[in-house]
């Protein structure tokens, strides 16, 4: 019996060795291609262009007899931050940068707002599941549009729970591996609900808008 086994093993030795060699070669190709894709992603990130779009926000708050609607532009610079420009019904500009949140006054001067948190907003806007998982229990939501990835985010911390009961986020992958939110729904404990819809626009970025990210 042992002898048979040995003989069989001897017979299979060559094909096994060949198979292992092929597998190793494939894996090295795969590894190289992964490394290549990382390098690509890096170079993509470096070459990432800021995205400009419009938003429409609708707030359904119980004591208000009609929804409060606001609209404006946003500029999203994936590695640098988000510029949020409300145009209607009131003009205001906010910059969610890596260093913090700034209110931009009418003279264009930045004023840091200590009470606002940039990390959370940027993670939400980027649809960064890894970062969002720090604050939320994330669950995928099914939807009709196959191009969208939708998540239900339930807050983990008491602080966050006092703000939101749940956040529903749908993102769409852009050409350059960048995700962009399409809709964000903020659901509060008391039944208040804020829906924000995003749409990319062709309007070119102004020098002033870009200057905020320097």
């Amino acid at each position: 019996m042992n002898k048979t086994k040995t003989t069989l093993f001897n017979k299979l030795q060559l094909p096994i060795a060949t198979l292992l060699f092929i597998l190793l070669s494939l894996s090295s190709v795969a590894f190289n291609s992964h490394a290549e894709s990382e390098t690509k992603a890096q170079s993509n990130a470096e070459a990432i262009e800021p995205l400009k779009g419009t938003f429409l926000q609708s707030k359904n708050i119980k004591p208000l007899k009609r929804p409060f609607k606001s609209s404006g532009h946003f500029v999203y610079f994936p590695t640098k931050g988000l510029l949020w420009q409300t145009e209607k019904p009131v003009k205001s500009v906010k910059l969610f940068a890596n260093e913090g949140v700034y209110k931009v006054d009418q003279h264009g001067t930045l004023q840091k707002e200590a009470q606002l948190d940039n990390a959370f907003f940027l993670a939400l806007f980027a649809g960064d599941e890894q970062k969002l998982a720090q604050f939320f229990i994330t669950q995928p939501i099914t939807n009709d549009d196959a191009t969208l990835t939708c998540l239900a985010l339930t807050p983990k911390s008491d602080t966050m729970k006092s703000l939101f009961a749940q956040i529903q986020l749908c993102t769409k992958a852009m050409n350059n591996n960048v995700k962009l939110p399409v809709t964000i729904a903020l659901l509060e404990e008391k039944g208040n609900r804020t829906d924000i819809n995003f749409q990319l626009s062709d309007t070119p970025l102004t020098a002033q808008e870009l200057a905020y990210f320097d």
Binding site: P63, S70, P89, A114, Q115, D117, S157
Partner: protein, 768 residues
């Protein structure tokens, strides 16, 4: 000519041994019963730290102390970790660990939590137009001036435009115009801005250090648990949490730390230090005194008898202290350790006679009665001079030592003459050649040395703070960008409304000059100021400036709110929970304070000085000045006291003897000050107070020498007294509290000098 020893016949000397013992026993049992009753009544109140021992009488300082009480029950713990999430989770664990503690009033990490916010909303929501944010107020004024609705609607829309705002969503039901939300946002966030480095990250209220992220834990302790025992418990609990956490993290090899600040921690640390000194000094003194007794008598009976005298002194002293004072300062016990040295002296005088004569108890009692009584009276008189100081700690020392010595005196007279033992023991006698030159040289030295004396009564030099706590405070202060203990400007008025107006005006003026401060007027407005705000909203409503806002609100919502609007009743105590600033009534006046983040500048100080009924408070400086005043006053008190002593001594021993008997103690204490100066950079009030005691103790030595002659027996007794006193006072010079160590050092030097000069100065050749 050698004087005959002075003896006296008295009631005590006629007592039988049994009667003496019964009388002594009754005294001890009565004291024990009183002490038991006192301790079973309630928790004895103790305090620690030198500041707590001082009394300051001016109304503004009393107000500052009363207003500062808001800080006494607050603790800030900072949990630092490289990972914010780890800091958050540790802070949450610590909060859970402390949650059930009986002393805990509140604990939180986010000062804007839902519960606190809801409490503020329900108070201010009763009349939401009474309080306006300054920016909102400016917009309302602009809307009227420019006859435009836009500034009013801009405020409303800006607030609604945010993704999510807990203040907006929670206050909407109370006030849909968002006037209240604007006010609360401005006030709450103004608290966490200014020079402060507080911020929100990952929705956590936090601080960023050079290497670590810090999550705060704000702790408020119930007022009923601010006593010494609970303070020590709280301190130990936090220290134990800190050390558990440090251990876990050392094992996990991550960089982290926990910082703690709060006045109560200093009290607890001072208490632990005082307790440690009381026990270590007590044990050393007792062992030293026992050793001296044993060497002097080489028998167990006198040792036990001496211990009975010391025990009785401590017992009577403690009873008096608990009966007289509501709150006892722990440093009083540190000072009072000196009673061991003085009390045992009384025993020595009787026991030495007993040892060297075979006379009856009655004869011995007769012999020691007068010198012991004079010694007791002069020591109590000396200590009583401490009553002239405003330092309650010293009043407690007087009561403890004074009554304790009465206990020692009675024990020595009632119990010790009946003791029998035969051992000779070691002699501590010294009989050098006496000559008046020695006293003359000492006097010249003292007079020459007085010029080098340098006094500094700065309270900061007298008190000690636990170094580890001070370091943590410095770090917390640099992290938060705020001073741990703010600088205070107190303002007063007979009318609460006027006080608020005055406070608001001064706060605005100081802010205009760059001051960062907290003021109750940010949260409590006078009714007239509230009505002005309501009127401003009303005016905008009448001008139809709320037109855009109204389109979102229920029909006539603003009109209804305006009809109901009326100034809110003031509730400074409620607001003090959030702001740390209160209004207190002292001396029929209302007082509040502005809490400044930094020392006021020259201009700001001028502004304060020009404002009516406003005072910048520098409590340590005021206390230091008061101590200097007391130190100079002591001389005026000591002079008449010295004259009285001179008169008493003259009556018994003649004027010439009395002058020398007084000169030796005065020179000893003066030289003690001069020699103390060699060990200390500057002298203080406690060195001077020690001089008063040196005089009283040295007079005892002189009285014994003068009453019984400069014999070996008296030298032996005086030497024993001096060694035991020097030992018990000398040990105090090792205290970590400069006040105690200064006192101990001067006494050690003074007693040694008094002993030396009492042996070297001839008294018996002076004729009456």
């Amino acid at each position: 000519m050698t004087k005959q020893p002075i003896t006296s016949d008295n009631l005590l000397s006629r007592l039988s041994p049994k009667a003496s013992f019964v009388l002594w026993f009754v005294m001890v049992v009565t004291c024990c019963l009183v002490l038991l009753a006192e301790f079973s009544k309630a928790e004895a109140k103790y305090n620690a730290g030198l500041l707590a021992a001082l009394e300051i009488n001016s109304a503004e300082h009393q107000a500052a102390i009363a207003l500062g009480q808001n800080y006494q029950n607050k603790l800030l713990v900072l949990v630092g970790d490289k990972q914010l999430q780890s800091a958050t989770s540790t802070a949450s664990d610590i909060r859970k660990q402390l949650q059930g503690k009986a002393w805990l009033e509140s604990i939180y990490s986010n000062p804007l939590d839902a519960k606190k916010l809801q409490q503020l909303i329900s108070y201010y929501g009763a009349s939401p137009f009474s309080y306006l944010a300054s920016e909102h107020k400016a917009r309302l004024q602009k809307a009227i001036a420019e006859k435009k609705a836009q500034p009013v609607s801009d405020n409303f829309f800006s607030l609604l435009n945010q993704w999510s705002d807990p203040i907006v969503s929670q206050s909407l039901e109370q006030d849909a115009t968002l006037t209240l939300a604007s006010f609360l946002k401005e006030r709450l966030f103004a608290q966490s801005s200014g020079a402060s480095k507080w911020q929100f990250s990952q929705q956590e209220f936090m601080l960023t250090g050079d290497e670590l992220n810090y999550i705060p834990i704000f702790i408020t302790i119930k007022a009923s648990h601010l006593n010494m025992r609970d303070s020590v418990d709280i301190y130990k609990t936090l220290q134990s949490i800190k050390s558990d956490y440090s251990q876990v993290n050392t094992e996990a090899d991550t960089s982290s730390e926990i910082l703690m600040t709060g006045m109560i921690l200093h009290s607890a640390a001072a208490s632990l230090q005082a307790q440690s000194e009381i026990s270590s000094f007590g044990v050393f003194s007792l062992v030293g005194v026992m050793l001296i007794i044993f060497l002097a008598f080489r028998a167990i009976t006198p040792l036990i008898a001496s211990l009975a005298v010391i025990g009785c002194a401590l017992l009577v002293g403690l009873v008096a202290l608990t009966l007289v004072f509501e709150s006892i300062h722990l440093l009083a016990f540190v000072f009072a350790v000196s009673i061991l040295g003085i009390a045992v002296d009384y025993g020595f005088h009787v026991l030495v006679l007993r040892q060297h004569t075979q006379a009856s108890a009655q004869v011995i009692r007769n012999k020691v009665f007068l010198p012991l009584t004079i010694a007791l009276a002069s020591t109590i008189a000396g200590y009583s001079l401490f009553f002239t100081t405003p330092i309650e700690l010293l009043h407690q020392v007087v009561i403890f030592v004074g009554f304790g010595l009465v206990g020692a005196y009675l024990s020595a007279l009632l119990l010790l003459p009946h003791i029998h033992f035969k051992n000779i023991g070691s002699s501590f006698a010294l009989q050098p050649k006496q000559h008046s030159t020695y006293l003359t040289i000492a006097t010249i030295l003292m007079l020459a040395g007085i010029s080098i004396l340098n006094f500094d009564d700065s309270i900061a030099n007298l008190n000690t703070k636990a170094e580890v706590l001070v370091k943590q405070e410095q770090k917390v202060s640099s992290l938060t960008g705020e001073t741990v203990y703010p600088h205070m400007v107190v303002i007063s008025d007979k009318d609460q409304e006027a006080l608020l107006n005055k406070t608001q005006e001064l706060a605005e003026n100081l802010r205009a000059q760059g001051a960062i401060l907290k003021s109750i007027a940010d949260w409590q407005l006078s009714k007239s100021a509230q009505q002005n705000n309501i009127d401003l909203v009303q005016a905008n409503w009448q001008l139809n400036n709320y037109q855009d806002v109204s389109s979102y609100l229920a029909d006539n919502a603003i009109e209804r709110s305006l009809k109901q609007a009326k100034p809110l009743e003031l509730d400074p105590a409620f607001i003090a929970q959030y702001t740390g600033v209160n209004i207190k009534e002292i001396d029929n006046k209302y007082w509040t304070a502005l809490l400044l983040n930094e020392l006021p500048s020259k201009n700001q100080k001028q502004l304060i000085a020009q404002s009516l009924d406003s005072h910048y408070i520098n409590l340590p400086q005021a206390l230091s000045q008061q101590l200097t005043q007391v130190r100079t006053d002591i001389i005026y008190v000591a002079l008449p006291a010295a004259i009285i002593i001179l008169v008493i001594l003259s009556l018994y021993f003649g004027f010439s003897s009395a002058v020398v008997m007084l000169l030796v103690p005065v020179v000893s204490s003066g030289l003690a000050l001069v020699f103390s100066q060699l060990f200390q950079t500057s002298l203080n009030i406690f060195n001077v107070l020690a001089c008063l005691l040196i005089i009283t103790l040295a007079i005892d030595y002189m009285v014994f020498f003068r009453a019984h002659g400069a014999t070996k027996l008296i030298s032996h007794t005086v030497s024993l007294s001096a060694i035991s006193s020097a030992l018990t006072f000398g040990i105090m010079s090792f205290s970590t509290t400069p006040a105690v160590s200064s006192f101990g050092l001067t006494l050690l030097l003074g007693i040694s000098l008094a002993w030396l000069l009492s042996h070297l100065t001839p008294l018996t050749n002076i004729k009456k």
